[in-house]
Symmetry: C2
DNA sequence: ATCACTGGTGGGAGCGCTCCCACAGTACCT
DNA sequence: AGGTACTGTGGGAGCGCTCCCACCAGTGAT
């Protein structure tokens, strides 16, 4: 029963057929047992399991993938260069959540970076080859073609952070609107009233929602919305510094700032210091993300925490469901396939 | 020509057979073309390539893996929890190098964490299923059973940092011995003579080699080796602090310290400050790794830089070679399958 | 007794490739 | 002319699974 030719088999991993022979059953039965089908008698199942153990049988993934037309793998696609991925705790937390959701599954996780054009081309090729059953998409910009590609290939996908209010993909997001409100209301409750907002990149939907939250919190408090108190940032420290400088020039009497990210807040802090303003005595500062930066800032920064790990877990659960019922997502009603998780304000001495 | 049953084919990815029909050639010929075999006439090749393009053909990886008994994937196995992986720039640099080496290859990289027992069990299963053609092993401890498992499964592997002088696996390492010598010689050239050393975890071979380098540099300089100037650390900040405290007690006249890692140096720095010693006036300090910590320390830390990205690239090249000639590694002479890369001293104001 | 059913089971066919053998054609010797 | 040695090509067999159809008891209703 030699294999044909001199193919590089190293000594012989047992096959399902050999397990069947050993257990004295048919191939189909072994397949049923290893796939956990209920339509197998207890005695047979025990016999098969014994044979599996004796032979040290491990199913051949390639054969299974070929026959069943699935890969038992999903990809976490990060449309950023590795560098940013590692720099931000966001991704590490996300990964932890994804790992947790996958841990009692057969599913394998692939981590794919698509920061450069070259990497994106590889990714497209990879997806076209259907080497994954589903895709987890994080931090996707509004004009990214990736979701469309996925839809066209009919590969299930879940996105973290909808691209717009009209997002068609299933998504898991934190409550950017609510988080922003929490931040502003916190500042108001501390007796501040001239509260400025430095936004994130406004082509990111979540950044828009934070602006909305800021606006509504201000007007609900009867303070009205002074557009001059809003200045666009871009999630970077440099942007934060620049925006804060502009704001101080325009409104020297600002007594509080809500920044759309901790990094932005760090930039704002520098500008405030440059201008001789004390934190929090003269100006209170609140950031967003509750990252390591927030904890290590001088003074420690009040910040809005997003449940990132939880988001990773939820996204994964959602994706696994989609993969399991294997229908292209868009074709279904979006019922409750879009979830929003609550944020939490972590109060420190900057406010 | 319908597929049998109602298997979830979504509309029909073209198969190699269809490409063959379209190009008016046989299956074998198409296979030769897409695998870059030279034994195809130019005219035929052109015809096949045209058909591939028209049909948008992408080879089915599962079928290929099954027939050819390979997976076109290698794994980077990190025997640490995700947290440490992300905390240390080491891994991110390594990943960059690996990615670069893989970038003009069909090979896919999998990132696998094996920090917990549970994850290790999954990994073992994964490897047993032969889902990768080769494995890149980083930061493996001396008693790790993983390399043996790999050998037993006959899966090619390359290790970063040999486990001992008798390492049997192909490896790529930086010159720990030479790096340590550089550090110590640098301190001596600055006029220091009471140079202490805080070691790393001594069950890590590289840490041992650094001690060797320290010893030889001291004795070659005619200073002899005072064992009292050597104190064991464990690569952590806490360990560095503790060791430094001990050293200061034992030898209050120390005028320089070579720490086995930047993190260790950070701990040592704290202990020195606690004891009222100024850096570098009273005590000069040199670390190892040239991490972000070194650049941001107060004062900036002189450190030994390892070419991590380069190591990643070399490891990958080595592994690809091993995979390509597909013979189990141990069975071959280890010729020059173990390489050592030079380090570089980055001088800053701490020394 | 006959006729449904039901839970269990065996095994053929097929997934889309790669490998290799066979063979046609051409070229260059004897 | 016949041999030998290529290059280029077609297609059978097989990789190890899953799927599904056929079938074989039993069981209970008729």
């Amino acid at each position: 029963m030699a294999t044909h030719g001199a193919r590089g088999r190293s000594g012989g991993r047992p096959t399902l057929e050999e397990v069947a022979a050993r257990a004295g059953v048919g191939r189909g039965t072994v397949s049923r047992v290893i796939n956990g089908s209920p339509r197998v008698s207890d005695a047979t199942r025990a016999a098969v399991e014994a044979a599996v153990a004796e032979l040290g049988y491990v199913p051949n993934t390639a054969a299974r993938a070929l026959a069943a037309n699935r890969t038992d793998a999903i990809a976490l696609v990060v449309p950023e260069p590795e560098t940013r991925f590692f720099a931000e705790p966001y991704f590490s937390d996300m990964l932890k959540g994804v790992g947790a959701a996958l841990s009692d599954t057969e599913m394998q996780l692939l981590l794919i970076f698509a920061g450069s054009d070259r990497e994106r081309a590889r990714l497209a090729q990879y997806l076209a080859a259907h080497r994954v059953d589903g895709v987890l998409l994080v931090s996707v910009h509004a004009d990214d073609p990736l979701p469309d590609l996925l839809a066209q290939l009919e590969i299930p996908a879940v996105i973290s952070g909808p691209r717009s209010a009209a997002e068609t993909l299933p998504s898991v997001d934190s409550d950017n609107y609510g988080g922003a409100r929490q931040a502003v209301e916190h500042l108001l409750s501390r007796g501040r009233s001239r509260v400025a907002h430095i936004t994130g990149r406004l082509d990111v939907y979540g950044a828009q929602r934070r602006v909305d939250g800021y606006r509504d919190a201000m007007s609900d408090a009867g303070l009205g919305v002074d557009e001059g108190l809003i200045e666009a940032g871009d999630f970077t420290e440099e942007g934060g510094h620049r925006a804060m400088t502009v704001l101080l020039e325009r409104h020297p009497d600002i007594d509080a700032v809500f920044a759309a990210s901790d990094v932005t807040a760090a930039g704002a802090r520098r500008a405030l210091r440059d201008a001789g303003r004390r934190i929090p005595e003269d100006v209170a500062l609140v950031g967003y993300d509750d990252s390591a930066i927030a904890r290590h800032m001088e003074p420690p920064l009040t910040s809005v925490r997003q449940p990132i790990e939880e988001m990773g877990r939820r996204m994964t659960d959602l994706l696994l469901t989609e993969v399991a019922d294997r229908r292209p997502l868009a074709s279904r009603g979006l019922e409750r396939r879009q979830m929003v998780l609550a944020t939490e304000l972590v109060s420190r001495s900057s406010s």
